[in-house]
């Protein structure tokens, strides 16, 4: 009952913040003086990337907790979060490419380390899902996933920091000494990130609930069969 109330509350907050974020991104914030309206992609591109990092971070944490406790509850959280992370990482990559085409003239630059590492991160978690699908027992599935989740986390600091260290093509927004973001743009970005964070929590609650019910079904099937 409390869980349902929490889910409803989070979904309402997500909807409210999504509507506000779309208003801020498309109407309130002026177009960028150099990039024009295409820059508006950035608000949800960055929010998607942030959620993918958060989701993979939760996968790592839940994976570690599973290895410590051997409680499948943690494995369900890790798997659910990894799936959501892949969704948002995919959206981040696609929207980044759609921003890059008019600005750089190409959809993708393999020579940019940030782009390359983010692609590797995405591949690691695709492999994570493939690995789970092919693991034989429930325990080996959870163990392998936890280890893969930990490996995946290693990429996150590199993916996040690559453009700050090497300063290639990908823009850096948070550490610019010139303050490349106007206050209205920064506000729009913060609201988009908050909206996507609520959306992530909502999806995670639903996804974990599905995994929990699947486990219950497996147990009941054994009882019915026996």
């Amino acid at each position: 009952m409390l869980k349902n109330k929490l889910r409803i509350l989070v979904s309402i907050l997500a909807i409210i913040f999504i509507l506000i974020s779309v208003y801020f991104a498309l109407i309130y914030t002026p177009p960028h003086e150099i990039m024009g309206d295409v820059q508006r992609i950035f608000y949800f591109h960055v929010a998607s990337a942030w959620i993918s990092y958060l989701a993979f971070g939760v996968t790592f944490f839940a994976g570690v907790m599973y290895l410590k406790s051997k409680d499948f509850k943690w494995d369900n959280i890790a798997f659910s979060s990894a799936e959501i992370g892949i969704l948002f990482c995919t959206l981040g990559i696609i929207t980044g490419s759609l921003w890059a085409r008019p600005i750089w003239g190409v959809f993708w630059r393999w020579e940019d380390i940030k782009l390359f590492i983010t692609f590797v991160l995405w591949l690691i978690f695709i492999a994570y899902l493939a690995l789970r699908a092919n693991a034989k027992s429930r325990t080996s599935k959870a163990n392998l996933s936890a280890v893969f989740g930990i490996i995946g986390l290693i990429c996150i600091p590199f993916s996040f920091g690559a453009n700050r260290i090497w300063q290639q093509y990908h823009p850096t927004i948070l550490v610019s000494s010139e303050g490349s973001l106007q206050p209205s743009m920064a506000l729009s970005l913060i609201i988009s990130v908050i909206a996507f964070t609520f959306l992530y929590i909502y999806i995670l609650l639903v996804r974990v609930d599905i995994e929990k019910m699947k486990e219950e079904i497996d147990k009941l099937k054994q009882k019915v069969g026996g």
Partner: protein, 51 residues
Amino acid sequence: MVDIADLIYLYAAYSIIWVGIFLYIVKLHTAQKKIENELKMLKEILNGKKT
């Protein structure tokens, strides 16, 4: 300044984001409903066996 024709990329990006998220949530809710029904059915079978 970017050409007005480049707005197609803005439109495409927003469409992909919202349609992608919407479809994923719809898929989750469909799966959730299906699993809930299966769980209910199994519980009924088990209760029937007990009585």
